[in-house]
Symmetry: C2
Subunit: 227 residues, 2 copies
């Protein structure tokens, strides 16, 4: 479902040039469960943003379901994101002054899901992350880990074919982390592709495959469980 | 240096009432190194914001160096914060579109530190968190873990008597986390009080004392190393 070929991402020019990705190639088949690890600043989020069609590579090819994203315009990229991908940002990116449940429903509004079904799926998603009692709280009225879980609920409520999660348990204690991982495992067992970034070994241990980045390149790519 | 007596914090009213803190009492002596743990939503950040004079309790007493904060107005609270406390927010709270080094210098601007000395201390702080090569990057041009480390640098550059850190390693890999903890241990060895929130046992293991919260109350308070 994903083919990345010799992708680079460079920021800035001259002496402030940063090679966030210095040549990455990988393929991810439908239904895989991949953990991306690496030191702070090694290029994980940059790679994830490209996989999620939120950013384009500087050079190289990215094919999503056989379609080269380079050929798509902004509207088509947004449509691909909305239909195929559930994205969980490292900084949550919830809409301020908007209730948690409205935040979870928003991607479904764009996807044209009817109101009653939207509300029902949003409620189910909030329950599955343990926040049934926080539906009407705005982000400012939620703890850090609760905001993170709302971001998880928002990504899964559209039933996406692929979930891309950037540090989804960074602010969670081990019980809440295990709940989120149980959720990802259940979604993966249904055939959805899960790619997550983590710096925690306990989280990576539950993936089927671990890719380690270092200074914008793949250091190793290890399969721990069969597809 | 800190005395908290029967502090509560309640949000909302009626059926949306949330008891973030339901009666917390504790004392922290100068030079202690305390880790605060607990499930997501258990009241850790709420307690930390009260300790850092960023928020007032609903009921109960908070004495910082013998001074009851209830009697202070906004300006006096800001002065106490600026002079005595280095605060690291769970969501970093860096000023957007402002370089990392300007962010680190800002508390020293408020404290009236001269320009040359400000710059020198900010440089030292950025080096101590491993970001000497990212001085002029704005938050948007930094990875999540790099933003977190700028927030750490900002909190220590004023040489505060007390450091309050809310999940300072949430976005860091184990090497970068160990660097930040080495830094806190060195500051603590100089006699500075360190209070940090964490959900990672490896981080709590390095503290002298661990306080666990549950549903807004202290579940246990255990000294692991002598003061
Ligand atoms: N402004 C607010 N209005 C209403 N409820 C709030 C507000 N701020 C926090 N809360 C609630 O108070 C409780 C404690 O929040 P707090 O941020 O202290 O938790 P925490 O222990 O830091 O959690 P985390 O580990 O997820 O960061 C949470 O259940 C949260 O929903
Ligand atoms: N807009 C930008 N301009 C300049 N440099 C950038 C920009 N965005 C990211 N970088 C740099 O690219 C590198 C990779 O960033 P990235 O966010 O992918 O790292 P990461 O592996 O996700 O790190 P972390 O674990 O800290 O989140 C970093 O060194 C960062 O400073
Ligand atoms: Mg990142
Ligand atoms: Mg918190």
């Amino acid at each position: 479902v994903i083919v990345v070929h010799q992708v680079t991402k460079t920021y800035g020019m001259g002496d402030t040039e940063v090679h966030a990705l210095a040549g990455v190639s990988l393929a991810i088949q439908r239904g895989d469960f991949v953990a991306i690890m690496g030191a702070s600043g090694s290029g994980k989020s940059t790679l994830m943003n490209i996989l999620g069609c939120l950013d384009l590579p500087s050079t190289g090819r990215y094919l999503l379901d056989g379609v080269d994203v380079q050929g798509l315009d902004e509207t088509q990229l947004a449509e691909v994101r909305n239909r195929k991908i559930g994205f969980i940002f490292q900084s949550f990116n919830l809409i301020p002054r908007t209730s948690a449940i409205a935040n979870v429903e928003l991607p479904m509004v764009y996807a044209g899901v009817k109101k009653a079904e939207r509300r029902e799926r949003a409620l189910l998603a909030m329950e599955s992350v343990g926040l049934a009692k926080r539906l009407n709280h705005t982000p400012a009225e939620l703890s850090g880990g609760q905001q993170q879980r709302v971001a998880v609920a928002r990504a899964i409520a559209t039933n996406p074919a692929m979930i891309l999660a950037d540090e989804p348990t960074g602010n969670l204690d081990s019980a809440a982390s295990a709940d989120v991982l149980d959720l990802f495992e259940a979604l993966n067992a249904e055939g959805r592709t899960v790619v997550l970034i983590t710096h925690e070994n306990e989280v990576a241990d539950r993936a089927k495959r671990v890719i380690r980045l270092r200074d914008g390149r793949i250091l190793e790519d290890v399969r721990n469980q069969p597809l």
